[in-house]
């Protein structure tokens, strides 16, 4: 693993297996932009508990295993820390979500260049659609 890995959580009313998102990620992976490390589909019960759902038909063997290991295996009694995050912060009770681990291959050299230049992170955010429209 070399590039920064993003955790992307996308909610759905129902599990969506259209394949369009995975196809786009495949395209970006082919272009060397990102790499889909893993994707996991979870369902949160009304009582707050999480269950993993089966991967889409035709998915590669073991899909979701890495994400489940990284994001699961917690202690239900653990107190959250202000610097930590869990799926419970993102997925509301009764929700279904796809959780993707996406390695940003393009960023590896940029992060390395910043570090080599002695730069240190002071701020990092995304512009809103409103501000992007002003570009």
């Amino acid at each position: 693993m070399t590039g920064p890995v993003q955790v992307l959580v996308v909610g759905f009313d129902e599990p969506s297996y259209s394949g369009t998102v995975l196809a786009e990620l495949d395209r970006l992976e082919g272009a060397g932009v990102v790499r889909l490390v893993d994707v996991l589909i979870v369902q949160r019960g009304d009582d707050g508990s999480f269950d993993t759902l089966p991967p889409p038909p035709g998915a590669r063997d073991g899909l979701g295993r890495i994400a489940a290991e990284i994001l699961g295996g917690g202690d239900s009694d653990a107190e959250p820390d202000e610097a930590t995050w869990s799926l419970a912060d993102a997925v509301p009770p009764g929700g279904v979500a796809a959780v993707a681990l996406i390695e940003h291959l393009w960023a590896e050299s940029l992060v390395g260049a910043i570090g080599a230049a002695g730069g240190r992170p002071l701020g990092e955010l995304w512009l809103s659609a409103e501000d992007r429209a002003r570009l």
Binding site: S86, D89, V111
Partner: protein, 80 residues
């Protein structure tokens, strides 16, 4: 379906941890402030059932904790 217990993972930015926010809440703190409490407060301890005061006075008298005079006085306060 397999049960998954979410683990607390440390948040960081693409270029690393962003430590200084000019005295304002960090994104992590702001995020936490918008979240409902994930753990319900512990339930209050159960209140013991209320005893019959006359029976309690009888017991205290039997055990010699209070005298007959004290018993009569307290019994009069309790009523029937």
């Amino acid at each position: 379906m397999v049960l998954l217990v979410p683990r607390q993972i440390r948040m960081t930015g693409m270029t690393g941890s962003v430590p200084y926010y000019g005295g304002r809440l960090t994104p992590a703190q702001a995020h936490a402030a918008t979240q409902p409490r994930r753990y319900a407060p512990p339930p209050p301890p159960p209140t013991p059932p209320r005893r019959d005061p006359v029976a309690a006075l009888d017991e205290l008298l039997t055990q010699g904790v209070i005298s007959r005079a004290e018993y009569d006085e307290l019994r009069a306060r309790v009523g029937s």
